[in-house]
Assembly symmetry: D2
Homo-oligomer: 337 residues x 4
């Protein structure tokens, strides 16, 4: 950690900063230049995070040198983590191709969609039973009934299932039926929820919040990892921006960015990122070429009757085409699904 | 609702759109121009929200005409809502001047700070017992012990208290000790939490999410209102932006914007918005002139030893000066506190 | 164009709106529902753009139905435009692989870099002679001397050259030496500059502004096209965002988005978008898979001595590897370079 | 400047960094901790800006300590700069109240508007003769004829005039008629334009770009100052954000932020920031309370017939009311106009 002292600070102010650092058990290293005075703080920086050094009179800025996450960092684990969901492997060259409707609506429709995506090559089935909806008047999901349908359909089509958990109290229920928890973008900083899925042994798909930096995303992963659950898969799903023609802005650079900073796998969700079926195929292909460990796409056999997010769902034949293109790109990138 | 048809759509596609609208119980109103065909949908638009009309082949865009919130809207209540927290009135010319430390740390410090802010004119005491921290390694709050200290200190200094609730399971506990719930920015779309504070009768301070639009904020308020709790106060606290010299970007235009769209009071938190004690006083004054129904400021008597967010806390003497300036501005604006 | 009338407007207000529309030579089409009154405006909407209908009392919102650009729109030209720069074709399956240093520094270095990128497969040479620098104290480019070096080096290595023009007065000079004008992000809305390159016959590479929407970008292309120059190639180069770990946020969805709205080719610049050599290769590959008509990468043989933007330049061997990967991906996408 | 070395760098890499620093004429100061190695660079940091130290192998990050602007910085001039435009003083307690239509349309309308705003207390008249319009098909301004009308009207009503210059070639013409140049948001980084107004002696109103940070704004001011023109007034006019209900997001914190970093005056333009007449009055008042040195408001006597930006113009009676409120707030803030 480096502490930059304000120009024209008094010697007493500087001495007070040095004293505070020593009080906290660290060794200050003073460097007084012609224009500026800076103080290096030697010791385990992570111990200093909570300390409001920036609040001391005379301090202009505090520059952290080390990453604020540990277990999520590449330094902690040089090798790529591979997360297993049932027999599916995510990371290390194996891709998760997740598909399904936004919400579980009923047994027949889910069965139909699952058949289509399985044939196209999807290896994980998705579908929401608890839906975080902007409006209290929108369809909020089928709850446990939806979870049952999802589990049964996954088994029938031999695909592990992933579904969202929104509230810590839903964890035992969702754990019973799902093979992987999904933490949605709106809950990326619901810290109690993170801690409690961190106390289970089920894999977790953690979606990036709408205004989360890559660092924020890794800090949220750290919450899960620090509770003992190492099975975390990250998901880039677009962030808020001024561009009004897409639902969000897909930040594909997060893929190599995360891979440099962390050992955790990261997949991409072009459906929520763009909200537009005409853009999803290109962004799905781009995700593969960017090095993603999987692609998550919403598919519905009758989008105009979907109870949630119909307008962004791909029709099954279009999904099959996109999968074909992704398969050929994955081959170039040395990956398989 | 207006449906714009894609150029070059077939008559069959247009007929299918008309049929879907009728199926849903609405009356379509076709208007075919030289360049474009549009369809007006007559009826209670709120019933149509969940319907994915945009997913129908041939539909280019769906333009909603009505607001998606009802109970929160100015149409629902022409008169400004006044929320009572103990003997404090928020709205309708009365301002909430909320002050206190970021976190409750111990009885002595809180008592000292409370004395200072009370003398300066604050009428509500704040302090966190459950802290949503980006890092799992940061101080997470004192929990129930913190709530007790907060309640006792508020009573001693004759100020109602407001504190954050992060998890629906904490509601009964927080309800016992606090006079007002705070829903933090990270939980603005924690819909279960919103619903359950909506089932209590305690007033709720709902902070705007870091990437929430004003419409999103009002939709979240609608969740609380629709469960039966009308005592909602909104809070603008800055949003994420590209500007790197401030913690967030304070969107003061949200104040008159909300006042045009809604009857709910709205206060401003310049502490979290800027994260910089040198900017907080100006932004606090600007908030008063912008028409805010209150101002929320973090104050600490020893910021450099604060366990949370010390660098953004004002010292008590500076707070007293800002309060003096705000008082004179409030007078010009025809308000009191 | 659709005009939504405020609820509770008077009949006199509505009549006044109707009258204004007729005065402007258009036909209003009134539709009064139970909840809302809307007015459709029939006629050539583009004639109405300048008219401040939204300023009329009683008007709540004005919803345009048609695109504000014409010559740039897909409706104007169903077929993809192919732009020729010397013997290089951009669009319609042919890709522009543009490479070179940020700035032309001297003859020897440019020659060395040009040799490297040519061998790796680049088909267009770039290099700045006029540099838009944030600081007045930074290197501002060699001016005409730089243009001469660029032209000579391009000829020697048989590559057409592209270079930035920042000021309308530089156009005749740049036109003499370059095969393609570049309009930088900071000048995307320098309308005089756009008009005047529009009066030449040289192809123009138009970069997206840092906070420009896709619509803004197409409006700026319209300025060039409407002056008579049809040879416009667009370039996505990242936009400003809250993410602090990359220079900008690359919006790859702009590629299919533009392709749906316009017939113009669009290339991608991952160098300026990310500012990080560790992310550029993945984003270059992703651009190819997203359907871009070319990729623009800054390459320098000694980044640590570069006079401009050294930290974001790729070393020649790394560039050659990325080109190899892009070539194999382009093949999958049915494209060549 | 502080250079952070990557963990696991070799001694040879570190030696190479030290050597480069010495080659550039600076003194490195090595500090090797248990976890990290950092190098302080002693000397005039401004000389190092152009050097791509970050491009050297082994360097993780380069942390500048000093501000990249000099003449614009508060360190350069402790006292607030006061800019004179005719007899109007801007800064140091005197406020510029700038008003007028977006564009000069004709003599009669401008005369009428000028009369209104003068009576309300405005002290500077604005009006565009060269208009930067997003669409090539929109009204582009009257050019020299507009400048003449503006000058005559200003003289008649005894108000100095300010008008936009978009192209360096317009400078001599605009200089002849205007009392103050305006550089619009879209030209904030049109560096040739900045340099050339910097070579005149006329005051310059420099508007913040739509995605410019406060630092970027000060760097652009530095371009003008470094050419010898010290008469620079900054203007906050909103930045791009995800909020869709306002044209831009007004960043009022830029006012105290700039005042801490620079000695230059800064005014606020709530008209372009919000684009909404219902929000302008509150934001104008907030600007005064935030400490702005002036407020710029667009006023039109018949917004629905305005040739540019009619929907955001205030009617003269509303402007007079806002001026009255601002006057009382200015008094509280110890300012006059």
């Amino acid at each position: 950690m480096i502490i930059v002292i304000r120009p024209n600070s008094t010697q007493a102010e500087i001495d007070h900063v040095l004293e505070r650092i020593r009080e906290l058990g660290f060794k200050p290293h003073l460097s007084q230049g012609e224009h500026r005075t800076i103080i290096g703080v030697i010791g385990d920086e992570s111990q200093l995070q909570a300390e409001p050094l920036a609040a001391i009179a005379g301090v202009e800025q505090v520059l952290p040198i080390m990453k604020p996450y540990k277990l999520a960092s590449r330094d902690f684990n040089k090798k790529d983590t591979v997360v297993a969901v049932g027999k599916v492997r995510i990371g290390g060259g194996s891709m998760a191709m997740i598909a399904g409707p936004c919400a579980v609506e009923n047994r027949e429709i889910l069965d139909e969609i699952a058949g289509h995506v399985k044939r196209a090559g999807a290896n994980l089935l998705r579908g929401g039973a608890f839906k975080p909806r902007t409006s209290p008047y929108s369809f909020q999901g089928l709850g446990e009934e939806g979870l049952k349908i999802l589990q049964d359909t996954g088994r029938k089509h031999d695909m592990p299932v992933v579904t969202e958990v929104m509230d810590p109290r839903q964890i035992p229920l969702v754990e019973r039926y799902a093979d992987m928890f999904q933490i949605g973008a709106r809950n990326m900083q619901n810290f109690d929820l993170l801690k409690e899925v961190g106390q289970t042994t089920k894999p977790v798909l953690l979606k990036r919040g709408m205004s989360a930096t890559v660092k924020d995303l890794l800090m949220s992963a750290e919450y899960i990892l620090s509770e003992g659950n190492p099975h975390v898969v990250l998901c880039e799903r677009g962030v808020r921006s001024f561009e009004e023609s897409t639902r969000n802005m897909l930040d594909l650079s997060a893929v190599p960015n995360v891979k440099g900073l962390s050992h955790l796998p990261i997949i991409v969700d072009p459906s929520h990122a763009t909200g537009r079926p005409d853009l999803i195929p290109s962004m799905a292909c781009a995700a593969v070429a960017a090095g993603a460990d999987g692609v998550h796409i919403e598919v519905h056999s009758c989008p105009e009757k979907a109870l949630s997010d119909g307008p962004q769902a791909l029709l099954p034949p279009r999904y099959a085409e996109v999968m074909e293109c992704m398969r050929r790109l994955a081959e170039v990138m040395g990956k398989t699904f």
